[in-house]
Amino acid sequence: MARIIKVSNLNYRYPDGTTGLNDVSFEVEEGETMVILGANGTGKSTLFMNLTGILDGDGHIEVMGLLLNKINLKNIRRGMGMVFQNPDDQLFCPTVMDDVSFGPLNLGLDANQVTEASQKALALVDLQGYESRTSYHLSFGEKKRAAIATVLSMNPRILLLDEPTSGLDPRSISKFINILYTLKSQGKTLLIVTHDLFLTQEIADRVLVFSEEKRPVAIGNYKEILNNYDLLLKNNLVHQHRHRHDAVVHEHEHQHGYIHKH
């Protein structure tokens, strides 16, 4: 497998002086799914903004063999799609179709290809028939899916998803996981920021954990990370599980995909 993203010694400081990223280095292989875990405010979104060249940090970023700089930026963006945390930022056109075809049109495809790509993307997220709907009037889950379709229609090699399942109900999440499986099987490289350990367990190949120091503290195979309870606890990714059996309140470690007996 070839290396598709390489980040080394990336630093970013926001204009107001807040540290966004603190000496971040890691690599991503082509076709793998990497889940990025981390508590709130640890720099995950900031990292994505740097990878897409929206924010310009100090350090070295290489994407698809190209150094991220002004000259290569356009080419890199052709192959990399990013879905924002808030779908209202992603959907800015009057109708869903306008939004989904926005990317492919800018890629310079002709009208037929654009329509085809957009239809395909909408079908993948199960939103056929929503073409002329106004994004403002969609439900939150529909907005989330439409937002993903706006990027899928560009058929990127790398997908950056910032908390794609937050605010979705359990059934929508499991549907969404199916979409991710489809993308995985197409050989796409996925970078997913999430707080959802269940999602991580389902789809991650490797996991990157961000700490309060705004840098990765651990990277590794998903089993290895998810089984490292101390690491997860220290980084606020799990909490002591407290619950009640009639009158008895008791606490124990948090475990996922496992129903304990009492």
């Binding site: 903004m49 897409t52 929206i54 356009k74 963006r77 052709r78 990399m80 799609g81 990013m82 924002f84 808030n86 209202d88 930022d89 992603q90 800015f92 056109c93 009057p94 109708t95 179709m97 306008d98 075809s101 926005f102 990317g103 049109l105 800018n106 890629l107 009208a111 654009v114 329509t115 957009s118 002329s132 994004s135 403002y136 706006t150 990027v151 560009m154």
Partner: protein, 265 residues
């Protein structure tokens, strides 16, 4: 979902923009004293309305919502306009004069704006906003303006929602004392709203450039003038020419004089 689209909905947005603008322009430039012309304009608009799927009830409902605003603005005109007094009202030392000029101006505003509103309601009901924007774009309206309208349409509700949430958060913690403090709270709220809007704009712009935006709005939807468009436009133009040139009056005149001739025989 409607099963059939009316003729007016099938027309190219450009056709509608041009013809409706032409009608409004002609109406506005017609002196108010030519009352008969306005009757004809009314008939023309009715005829246009006939080609849409909306019922007169729906149109009237919307027109009735808008008319009061116009009325409110126009209401005071008869009193303030200088000119020949036609009626004056004296309450002790107050004197209100209504002038002929004022009444005509009042009528001018009311008649023209009612007819325009009528036309706009029909236009609005048969054109989606995005089609309207695309029509404007194709008519070479400056792109920046079109985009501004598009974003306004998309985000005005988001903004209103945000403002409403802030108000709610405030009122949940406000128990009706120290009203001076409230002004400060209001100031903060406006500030927060401004910053949020600004940052949202930045994020939206990022979302656009990531998807390859380079300053040009492109669209898959292609509009083409059909025979229907041409027929519609020709129909409108012919009607307008007839009304403006007073052709209808002349024909009427001919009929009347023809009748005289007939009687004379």
């Amino acid at each position: 979902m409607k099963l059939t689209n009316s003729l007016l909905e099938k027309l190219d947005p450009r056709t509608k923009i041009i013809s409706f603008l032409a009608i409004m322009l002609c109406m506005i430039l017609t002196p108010i004293t030519r009352m008969r012309d306005f009757g004809l304009y009314f008939l023309l608009i009715l005829a246009i309305g006939f080609f849409s799927n909306i019922t007169p009830r729906q149109i009237l409902k919307k027109v009735c919502i808008l008319i009061p605003f116009v009325l409110f603005i126009a209401m005071f005109v008869p009193f303030v306009k200088e000119g020949n007094v036609c009626w004056s009202l004296e309450i002790t030392h107050w004197k209100l004069d209504i002038t002929y000029e004022g009444v005509w101006t009042f009528l001018n505003i009311i008649v023209k704006s009612s007819l325009s509103i009528f036309l706009l309601v029909i236009a609005n009901a048969t054109t989606t906003f995005s089609d309207f924007l695309k029509g404007l774009d194709m008519l070479r309206v400056p792109r920046l303006l079109v985009m501004l309208m598009s974003f306004m349409y998309r985000y005005i509700f988001v903004l209103i929602d945000e403002a409403r949430k802030l108000m709610r958060a405030r009122s949940l913690r406000y128990f009706g004392s120290r009203y001076k403090e409230q002004f400060r709270a209001m100031g903060y709220m406006i500030g927060v709203l401004f910053i949020r809007t600004f940052e949202r704009a930045e994020r939206i712009y990022s979302a656009m450039i990531i998807r390859g935006f380079s300053g040009e709005i492109l669209s898959v939807k292609r509009f083409r003038f059909s025979t229907m468009d041409i027929l519609f436009m020709v129909g409108i133009i012919v009607s307008l020419v007839c009304i403006v040139s007073g052709l209808v009056n002349k024909i009427e005149h001919m009929r009347v004089s023809g009748a005289h001739l007939w009687q004379g025989l």
